[in-house]
């Protein structure tokens, strides 16, 4: 029950009235709620615009929050993330252009629905599904995160490294890109994280005699370049033409759609569970949405009609994507291992504000953790209201031609990259990462493991070296007790999952074809 008391205090933190200075005007208002609305509106816009996504949107705005209180700052940034999750659905349904990778599966049935003049219905279903998926995940976080954190308090350096190993092994084992490309992307990230000062000994490494490399590479620059500039280059190559469907959405359509939704309760529950699972293991929202869509198509009695505007085909991926997007925060808060690139950027923010994500956060910064969790409940409700009421306005943003949007986004990328450390070299590196991101995407290297490895590199290395110091250099430390051995074993299972699952299906498949 302690969770509910804590959560209640969290709500009090979020709803508290404060004397604040907003753009030079002195006001007395629930500042965190105001921040929440601003964050979600910004997030939806970021989600709608091509080239600006959750991860780099948060990365660009992160430096602006350095002067804010950590609780307000994280509410702003996490609400941008929720908003971006909502926004992706709008472009998918109206324009057949997924604003975010996790909304690709939403286009399969969402756009056909819009073509049939049922855009309002599709949007309402998508938003409501997002809301339900997210709500399920937040309830799960409320109940599970404190338990996971309490359990993780027993972790030593070896166990910590084992958790990182599990996270990255599941990336390689579960990703749809070729495993050695995932591995290469990940190792580039880890290698980039080691440039400059070694945080354990203070000595310099990999600077090659250049002063520019002493501070090392900041992962925010990589995120802005890879996801921002890289995405714009890809969009230019594809020659974007916006041909959108009209979005009529009013109370009547919303209520009519809501009446239909309860019959899909089983789809909802299944998608929520898929989403939460994929969010906690760092597979993330994109595979979750595809998996949920695929299973719904196989299981549903309307399965054959999927792809022609079946409402269930919108419900399944949207529910799973949001459940995964929110569930990704559970391992970030409780273990310090983010479940998605955007969660990784948020984790980077926590480190900048001197908050160490991980089990101790639940003890030392209770107010912060529960304020964040409470803001997830409220942000979800605020988000649903905002997107349901603002769709026509948001669709109008998409009609602004790319010739204006692109340079403005480029400018924000440059501004964002500069403000991270007030360094011009970072702006140059942003462009390098942008071109790198374009080529990586084109040659099927996944970007998420690279970014995650860059964020976690220092911490993974520290855990690895500390564990070895404790064991005087023996690798046996990673199998020295039941706990660390079982996490490592899970890691190896995840690593070789594609081989294992192929073997299982062969064992099962051989007798089936023989009979």
């Amino acid at each position: 029950m302690a969770e509910f008391v804590n959560l209640f205090h969290g709500f009090a933190t979020v709803l508290a009235f404060q004397d604040v200075n907003v753009f030079g005007m002195q006001m007395y208002l629930p500042f965190n709620v105001f921040i929440m609305v601003v964050g979600i509106v910004l997030g939806v816009i970021i989600g709608v615009l091509p080239g600006l996504g959750g991860a780099n949107g948060v990365a660009i705005l992160l430096p602006l929050t350095f002067s804010m209180q950590p609780t307000s700052a994280i509410i702003l940034l996490s609400c941008i993330y929720w908003g971006a999750l909502f926004g992706g659905a709008i472009t998918s349904i109206l324009f057949n252009i997924p604003g975010e990778p996790w909304s690709v599966a939403t286009t399969f049935d969402g756009y056909p629905m819009a073509q049939q003049g049922r855009a309002g219905e599709a949007l309402t279903a998508a938003f409501t599904s997002s809301f339900i998926g997210a709500f399920f995940a937040v309830v799960m976080i409320t109940l599970l995160a404190p338990l996971v954190a309490a359990f993780a308090l027993r972790f030593g350096a070896a166990e910590k490294f084992a958790v990182y190993f599990l996270a990255f092994a599941s990336f390689i084992g579960l990703s749809k890109e070729p495993p050695f490309k995932t591995l290469a992307a990940m190792l580039i990230g880890f290698a980039l994280a080691t440039f400059g000062t070694d945080h354990m000994t203070g000595s310099l490494r990999l600077t090659f005699g250049s002063e520019l490399l002493i501070p090392g590479f900041d992962f925010l620059i990589a995120v802005i370049g890879l996801f921002g500039i890289g995405e714009i280059l890809l969009t230019m190559e594809e020659g974007l033409k916006f041909k959108g469907k009209e979005a009529k959405i009013n109370l009547r359509i919303v209520l009519d759609t809501w009446k239909k939704l309860p019959q899909y309760w089983w789809t909802y529950l299944r998608s929520c569970i898929i989403g939460c699972w994929m969010g906690i293991t760092p597979a993330g929202a994109t595979p979750a949405s595809f998996m949920s869509y695929g299973i719904a198509k196989r299981v549903s009695k309307n399965g054959k009609n999927f792809g022609n505007g079946e409402i269930e085909g919108v419900i399944a991926p949207e529910t799973a994507a949001h459940a995964a997007g929110k569930a990704a925060l559970l391992p970030m808060l409780a273990l310090g291992v983010p479940g998605s690139p955007t969660a990784a950027v948020l984790l980077g923010g926590l480190l900048i504000w001197n908050l160490q994500p991980g089990p101790m956060l639940f003890i030392e910064n209770k107010e912060f953790v529960w304020g964040l969790i409470a803001s997830m409940y409220l942000g979800n409700v605020v988000g649903l209201i905002i997107v349901l009421t603002c769709v026509p306005m948001l669709a109008a943003i998409l009609r602004i031609p790319f010739g204006i949007i692109a340079p403005v986004i480029l400018m924000f990328c440059a501004v964002g990259a500069y403000t991270v450390r007030n360094s011009f070299f970072d702006v140059v590196m942003m462009l390098v990462f942008g071109i790198l991101g374009y080529v990586l995407k084109k040659t099927n290297y996944p970007l998420a493991p690279l970014v995650l490895a860059m964020v976690l590199g220092d911490r993974a290395e520290e855990a690895f070296r500390q564990a070895l110091v404790g064991s005087s250099g023996s690798m046996g430390v990673f199998f020295s007790n039941a706990l660390v051995s079982s996490i490592m074993a899970l890691g190896f299972i995840a690593l070789f999952w594609s081989v294992i699952s192929a073997a299982i299906s062969r064992i099962r498949g051989v007798p089936a074809t023989a009979s």
Binding site: L187, T207, V427, Y438
Partner: protein, 166 residues
């Protein structure tokens, strides 16, 4: 380097770019291994030395790149990376970005942004001079107000801002 496949007239072969890229990755990995080796990869009084972890990562990257190159060699010869028109489009965006970033230290980020937005609107989207002028000046100006006045975040500024005392 002239292409040897049939697809070379439409665009560079996917396989070719993939192999060049993997090769560059291998060079990066070798640089990491070398740098790590210079920092010390052995066991010191503090435990594993500073180069220990990057050395493992670099060595692993060399291995992964070798496998990727081997896979790349077996890839299809006819698939193209992108056709020339598409690459021209990408180049048409990349070049102005390079110029934009190169100008920032001299004229500041705001004036450079005016030029960038103006260039995109005139050259890529065919806007008339009036609309181009209004938008390309208004957006950086609002950004200026937000950053320099409200959030008090200083961005690179040039001679124009200096004239107004910033």
């Amino acid at each position: 380097m002239s292409g040897d496949g049939n697809a070379a007239d439409q665009g560079p072969a996917h396989r070719y770019i993939e192999l060049v890229f993997a090769g560059l990755m291998g060079l990066f990995a070798i640089a990491v291994v070398y740098g790590a080796w210079r920092a010390g990869i052995g066991w010191g009084f503090e435990g594993p030395k500073a180069g220990f972890f990057p050395f493992i990562m670099g060595a692993g990257l060399i291995g992964a790149t070798a496998v990727n190159i081997w896979h790349g060699l077996q890839g299809s010869k006819s698939k193209i990376f992108a056709d020339w028109d598409q690459l021209k489009q990408v180049g048409a965006v990349t070049l102005p970005i390079v110029v934009y970033i190169a100008l920032i230290p001299y004229i500041g980020i705001y004036v450079a942004s005016v030029l960038l937005i103006g260039y995109f609107m005139m050259k890529i989207s065919d806007y008339g001079p009036v609309r181009t002028l209004i938008i390309s000046i208004a957006v950086p100006f609002i950004t200026f107000l937000v950053f320099e006045r409200w959030f008090l975040v200083a961005l690179p500024k040039g001679p124009l801002e200096a004239m107004f005392g910033y």
